[in-house]
Structures are given as structure tokens and as C-alpha cells.
Amino acid sequence: MTYTSSVFVIVLMIALALFVYVLVPRVQYLLLGRPEPRVDQVVRRTAGFLVLVFGQKKVLKERVGLIHFFIFWGFIVIAFGTLQVVGEGLREGFSLPVIGDNRAFYLLKDILSVLVITGVIVAAHIRYVVRPTRLKANLEAGIILGLIFALVVTEFFYSGLSYALAPRASHSLAFVAVGVSHLVGGSGASALDAVGHTLWWLHVVLLLSFLVYIPNSKHFHLIACPFNEWLRNLKPRGGQIYPVDFDAEDAESFGVGRVEAFTRKQLLDLYSCAECGRCQDNCPAYQSGKRLSSKLLITKLRDHLVEEGPRLLRERRAAASKSAKASGEQAGPLDGHENDTRSGPADGGAALSSEQARPALIGDVISLQEIWACTTCYSCQEQCPVQNEHINKIIDMRRHLVLMEGELPREAQLVFRNMEVNGNPLGESALVRGDYLRMLQVPTIAEEPEADVLYWPGCAGSLDARNQKVSAAFVNLARAAGVSVAVLGNEEKCCGEAARRLGNEYLYQSLAAENIGVLAGHNVRKIVTQCPHCFNTLKNEYPQLGAEFEVIHHTQFLHELASRGRLRLDAGVLGTAQAGRHERAVYHDSCYLGRYNGVYDQPRELLKLAGLELMELPRTRSKAFCCGAGGGRIWLEESEGERINNVRTDEILRAAPDVVAVACPYCLTMLKDGVDDRGAGDRVRVMDIAEILQGALSLSSQAGDSKLPERGNTTSSGCAAEEKLVRSPA
């Protein structure tokens, strides 16, 4: 035993030394990033940490997550079992407190071990036989699966042999160990002892190899992930984009153009990725055939960090020693000068060549195409089991391009110019912004400061012909419910959402500051928006600039009115329009309403109230597929791969609805385009929920509204509602 234990100690020391040797540089690379304080709300962080790590909450969002769940828990229990085994091997009669002689523990361990073995086999089958695109069938994953498999099997046999040599009461329920002991029962004790000894060593060596292998593989997530989960972003999802302080004294560089400009937390994300590919499976850019993959974004950045890390560390050390030297030599300017001339050219040359050899983060590692393809739909982050934040990385790189390089798509330039000069992305004069709502005889807040709510139609609801109808529908519904509504009129400007997501934080902040000033000047308390993008920005992003308003989306507001009985809806109006059957509707979740702000139910309940038969799309609610317009993408050309809106439209058309209900001007535009592009415009209508509700407004409530025309007695088709919408108040 002394021999075994001293050899063991040496082997253990070597393994630990190797582990530290590979771990330390990784940690140093992490520290190259900018600090980002995230240690706050300790209780909330810890509670979530427990649910996410030990409860495997997000891993279990997909059924295959069960495999991970079993392997994860199996590993924890087996780890204690291994401690016991190692202890036994070193000292006769060793027993861990509580579990060392606990029958239930050994039973549990054997159950979990079997599940782990099964899980490993199923995982290998998925990865190497089924081969879904999201998983790489590479050697690395195979090594890990093999190691886990071998670890469990060696432990099984070691326990079995031990049991055969000396049956222990504590192991009587450990069915695998008992089973193995029966298998080998006939062998001689000395043979069993020899084989057992070998197995023990095999087990130990495998375990230590695993330990050393971890930091250089995607299994580094074993170590990084718990930290990442604890440090997860606790801000509301819609307010997670980092603000930029343009007034800061040392503000020289904005956005991220080099990997070390990311924050340490952003770099920790890279290590935490286990390459499960769930993000990629739900990424609208990737799923429509674009180069961008949310998964590759992370893994490419990680590989780049690890490749560049040593050089960056050297450079940083050199810079540090140089500045130390420089301060030390201040006393003798002549010496300093001499030193300069001596080392200057050589240094310059070295720096230049290293600069040339270094792959550029933007361009070489992540292409412009990838950076501009993201719709910021949040699906990657929603699905990511380890709480990685992809979107901020994209936005940070866009910021570098826009703020530092002035390199951006031409369409984005035009949009920025329009927003800057006219206060809207469409390029309409700021002086006509309020015209449509004025035509609907909606007063401005200046005219009616006591109005119940301030309606924020946004750029689309004010200026885009199709979405103006949605504004009209909302105004009619509010009137029918007896709610007084006012608008800002020409004082309203673009909320700046698209500018921010396209990387122009400066423009966003200037628009936001103007809007906040105007809203505060009118003492606005409650804002109802038409657009989920305005909604999110006003609600979750303006507070970063010191504004606090109650902001709700019109679906929430209308739901509130309907549930308080103030909207009398006649469920039959739309429903009877087609030969006695209810019209069938699908609801397409807006990313910024659903995933970002959790508004999933109110729009659906409103549709049911309107008498529609609601069907769910295959990808719905938190897994809903983006229309392709978010992240400022609505203003950019989409020439790569398939158009995202068409991909979504195909999914919608397979459900064969009569109506596609949306709650967002972007979705409305994109899906209407998609439906027309697929030649289905005559049988499928794309409508905002407010328009649908207006169509279902009972006659008695309409009678009170002089501005609504009499309902037409169209009987032939389901167009009655739409025709009514077309006749918006003139």
C-alpha cells in the first residue's frame, strides 16, 4: 500500500501540475478582456445558479437534454464513488463519511452509472450515426465520450471484483457490482486481486487524463460554465445591450475591433460553449443559408482568443515592462533617447510583422457578412443552455465598424442619415409625421395633457401606409372602449432602436435623449406603443438614459381593455364569414414582444376573443422563428441564402391559415411580402391584431363611433373585415 500510495501521489501531482499548466494560460487570456463588474444580487444569482446548474433547467428545454442531465448527475455521484474507490485503494478500510457505507448511495450510484453508460451510447449514436448538422462528429467529442464510458466501466468492474473478494453489506443493493461479482465469482482470489489492482490504476489514470484533457477541449465548459451561469446577465432581456459613454474622458475606442476589447464576461462565454448547436438550430440567419452561425460565432472567437492569447500576453508584458522602464529612465533623457534609437526600429519592425501576421477579428475571423446578418432575435440566447450572450458581441463589432471605421452597408448609411435629418428611417419629412394621426382627429398631448394614455405609433404607424391602418384600428378600438388617447405628433421621433442595433449608438442616444426630453416635458406617465421595437426600447433601454415611463404594447393594452369588459367583441363577425366555420389564424410571435418581453399569451387570447380558431406554428412562442427584420435588418438588403421572411412564410403556409396575425409593423411588412412572394396573397391575409379586433368590434360599440363607416353586408368571402379596414377614416 505504501508503494501504491506514493506512486499515486506522484501521479496525482503530475496530473495536477499538467492541469494547472494548461489552465493558467486560459485564465490569463480571459483576463486580457476588459473588466465587467457583475458581482451583485448574490442571492438571486445563487438561486438561479442552482436551478440552472444542478437543476439543468435550460439543458432540459430539449428532450435530448435528459442525456446531459443523467451524465451530469451521474458524474457527480460517481465522483464521490471514485473518491471512495481511490481512498480504498490507498488505505484499507477507508470510508467516506455518510456515503462510504451507505447502501442507498451505492444503489443510486449504480443506477446513475447505468444511465450514464446508456447516455454515452445514445450520445455517440446521435453524434456519429444520426449526425445532426448542429453537432460536429469530431475526435474531440469521441475522446470525451470514450473517457466517460471507460471511467464508468472500470469502476463497475473494480467494484464487482472487490465485492467478489469481500462482499460488503453496503454494496448489497449495488446491482451492477453484485452482478459483476457473480460473473467473476469462480476465479481465484489472487487473480481477482491482481486484476482489481490493475483496474484501480486504470480508473485513476483515466480520471486524471480526463482532468488534464478538459481545459483544452470544449469540455472546459465543465469549469467555465458554473461561473458563467452565476455571472449571467440579470438585466431585462431587452435592456442588455451595453451603453456607450461618449462623454468619458478616455473614450477613444468604441465597440470591439480586437478580441481583447471584449469584456472578461464576454470571453468567459467563449469557454463556456459546449458546442451543442442549439443556438445554430434556431438561428434565422443560419437556417436561411447565411454564413452566420451563432455557434460558429462563439467557437471561432474562442479559437481566435486561444490562438492569439500567447502573443497578446507577450505584447502586454512587453508594453508593461517598457512603460516601467520609461518611468525609471525619466531622470536621464539622454539615456532614454539612446535607448529609443537603439530599440526603436527593431521594435517597430517586430510590431509591424506581428501586426501583419495577426488575423483581424473583423474580416478574417468573423466576416462582415456574418456581422451584418444577425437579426438580434434572441433565439440563440433563449436556447443556449449556458447563458451565453451572442447579441452583444455582434452589436459590439457593428459598433466598431460604424463608430470607428465608418464601414457599413450603404442602405444603413441612408437609414442613419434619414434618422438624423428627419427623425425617421423612411426619409419622410419630420414635419408630416403627425399628419396621419391628426387626420384621425387624435389630439396631441400638448392639446390634451389629461389624456388617459399616450399612443406611440412609431415611424411605421405614423408614416407607412400599411401600418397607418393599424394606427387607425387602434384609435378606433380605444374610442370604442372610451379611452382618451393623445399622441406626440411631430414631436415624436424615431426611438432609435434600429440605429442602436446597427451599431450607431451615437445616433441612438441622441434620438433617445430628444424623445426622453419631450416625454418628460409633457409629464407623460403611460405610453402604449404599436411597435414591439419601440416598446422594448422605451421600456427597457431608455431607463439606461435615466427615463422611467410605464410602457406597454398595444396588445397588452387591448387585452387589458377586453378583460375589463370595455371592448365589446362580437366573436361571430369574422368567424361566420366563411361558410359557417371559424376562420383559422396563426399567430406569429414578434421577437421583441415574445422572447424579449415575455408577451405570449395576451395576443393569443385576443385572437380567440375575436372568434378565430387559433393554430400554433411548429416554431412558436419562445422558439418562434424571426421574420427577418430585427436588428435593423429590415433596412438592409438580404441577398445571401434564402430570405428569412420566405422561410417563415413557408412554415406559415404549411399550416394553411386564413389569417396570419402579427403584432409588429416589421413582421407585418415582412410576412406580407413573404405571402405575396409565395403567391398566396389572395387566400391568406396578414393582419395586425388591432385590425382583427377592430373587425370583431360589435356593432353596438361601433355605433357610438361616428367615424367608423357602417359595416358592409359583404357575404361572399372572408374579406368583410379587411374591407372595413381599408375604409379607414378619411
Binding site: 468604441f254 463608430l403 470607428m404 465608418g406 428627419n422 419629412s429 419630420a430 414635419l431 449608438e505 451615437y506
Partner: protein, 261 residues
């Protein structure tokens, strides 16, 4: 180093809806609707882009000149953000409502005061008046050649080579500097400046000169006299012709014959 001057004009946003403009009480001024943002005249932006393209190609020092009264500095500073090296504002009450000739006088005097430039670039015409006179006026007063309607400007070792737009194509004109060139939109849109440069530009204090600094005597210059601004009256007469298709056709023919044709 090659030196380039670019003359830019600040105008009222040409996208502002015409119907909202009003004629001032004196009948001699157009009043834009309140809140109309000032912008750079678009052809002048093209002229600046032409200068910056030359700067990219062969290197040069680009000076932007703008004349007016109560100029919007943040708007003009964008020329610095885009890549101009210097901004000189010519501001004076006397410069208000100056006509093309007076404007050319002031700009030519400025160019003289600065010791002349190898190339002077202007937009082909302003986005508000569309007169297209100032560029030629400057060239005349400086006594240098002028090439108008450029779609491309290049600098060779000895000359400035301009592709000049013609109704059915283009011609290539070469001139030895100093030369004045007016730019057309074909030259390309003004580049989008990085926001960092925009922020930096806002901190720059441009040189401001008045009439006295330039020694121009506008009292002695000829000045166009605007007599009256008015909206042309337009009458729409509508006459309904009824009856059978035959009668309607006859009726229309009769009207066309007797009153229109």
C-alpha cells in the same frame, strides 16, 4: 502638397414638404416650416467626395469654405468628419440673401486670402436655387479655367483630368492647375464618416471670417433684386358632360375643338 478648396452651401432640407413653406409678409422671402433641418446642398457633398477621392489617391489638403449668415456649425462640421482638413466659415449679416455674383465675390476673395488652391471644387448647382452660377463666377473672378459637370476628377503629374458629362456621353478635359471644377452627382455620394470622427469634428473650432476680414465691398457689387415671390395661380375648371355615350363623345369633341386645340 496638392491643395483643394471645396465650396459648400447650407440649404434647407430639400425633402421638406413644399406645401408647408410660406411666403414672408414682405413678399420677398420664403419661410421654411419651423423645425426644417439645415443640410449640406447635395451637389456640394458630391464635390467634397470628389476632393476626398483625390486625397485618397494622391494625398492633398482639403479646405472647406462655406458662406452665409447664422450657419449651422454642427452640419458644416460634418465635412471635417468626412475627411476635410480645415473648415472656414464666412459669416456676416451682409452675406444674408447674397446673390450668385456676390457669393462668388466673397468666395474668390477668401481663396485669394488663403493664397490660392490647386483645385477649387463646387457643386454643379445649389439644392435650393438651382442657379449653378457661383462656380463659374469664382473662376471668372480668380481668372482660372473652369470645368463644369464633372463625373470624375483625377490628378496626374501635370494636370487635372476631368470627365465631363455631355447629353449623350462624356468628354475628357485636362487643365493645368489652378482649375475650378463643378461636380455632378455621378461622382458619388459623400462617404459615411465614422461616428468617432463626427464626435471629434464637433470639438473643432472653425475659422470664422466676416466681410471686413476679407476686405470685400459688397456695396459696390451688383446685386440681383428679387421683386416678388408668389405662388402661381392655377384655375381648374370642371365641366360635366352628360347624356348617352354618343352625346358624351360629341360633347368632348366639341370642347376639344373649340376651346383646347
Amino acid at each position: 502638397m496638392l491643395t483643394i478648396a471645396v465650396c459648400v452651401k447650407q440649404v434647407t432640407d430639400p425633402e421638406a414638404p413644399l406645401s408647408l413653406f410660406a411666403i414672408a409678409a414682405d413678399g420677398r422671402h420664403l419661410v421654411p416650416p419651423p423645425g426644417t433641418p439645415p443640410v449640406l446642398s447635395t451637389f456640394d457633398e458630391n464635390a467634397l467626395e470628389a476632393a476626398l477621392k483625390i486625397k485618397d489617391a494622391v494625398g492633398s489638403r482639403v479646405t472647406v469654405l462655406s458662406m452665409g449668415n447664422k450657419l449651422a456649425k454642427p452640419v458644416l462640421k460634418k465635412t471635417l468628419a468626412a475627411g476635410a482638413d480645415e473648415l472656414i466659415l464666412l459669416e456676416d449679416e451682409q452675406f444674408e440673401d447674397l446673390d450668385s455674383n456676390g457669393t462668388a465675390m466673397v468666395l474668390a476673395a477668401t481663396i485669394d486670402k488663403l493664397g490660392g488652391f490647386d483645385i477649387v471644387l463646387c457643386g454643379r448647382q445649389a439644392a435650393d436655387t438651382d442657379a449653378g452660377q457661383v462656380g463659374m463666377g469664382i473662376a471668372a473672378k480668380l481668372g482660372i479655367p473652369a470645368v463644369t459637370l464633372a463625373r470624375k476628377v483625377e490628378v496626374t503629374d501635370t494636370s487635372v483630368r476631368v470627365e465631363r458629362i455631355l447629353p449623350y456621353g462624356h468628354e475628357v478635359v485636362e487643365a493645368a492647375p489652378p482649375v475650378l471644377v463643378t461636380a455632378s452627382n455621378e461622382i458619388g455620394e459623400l462617404r459615411f464618416p465614422p461616428v468617432k470622427a463626427v464626435i471629434a469634428a464637433q470639438k473643432v473650432q472653425p475659422t470664422v471670417w466676416g466681410a471686413a476680414d476679407l476686405g470685400v465691398d459688397l456695396a459696390r457689387s451688383t446685386r440681383a433684386n428679387l421683386v416678388k415671390f408668389f405662388v402661381p395661380a392655377r384655375d381648374i375648371l370642371c365641366e360635366m358632360i352628360g347624356g348617352s355615350p354618343q352625346e358624351i363623345a360629341n360633347g368632348i369633341t366639341e370642347v376639344l375643338k373649340t376651346r383646347i386645340v
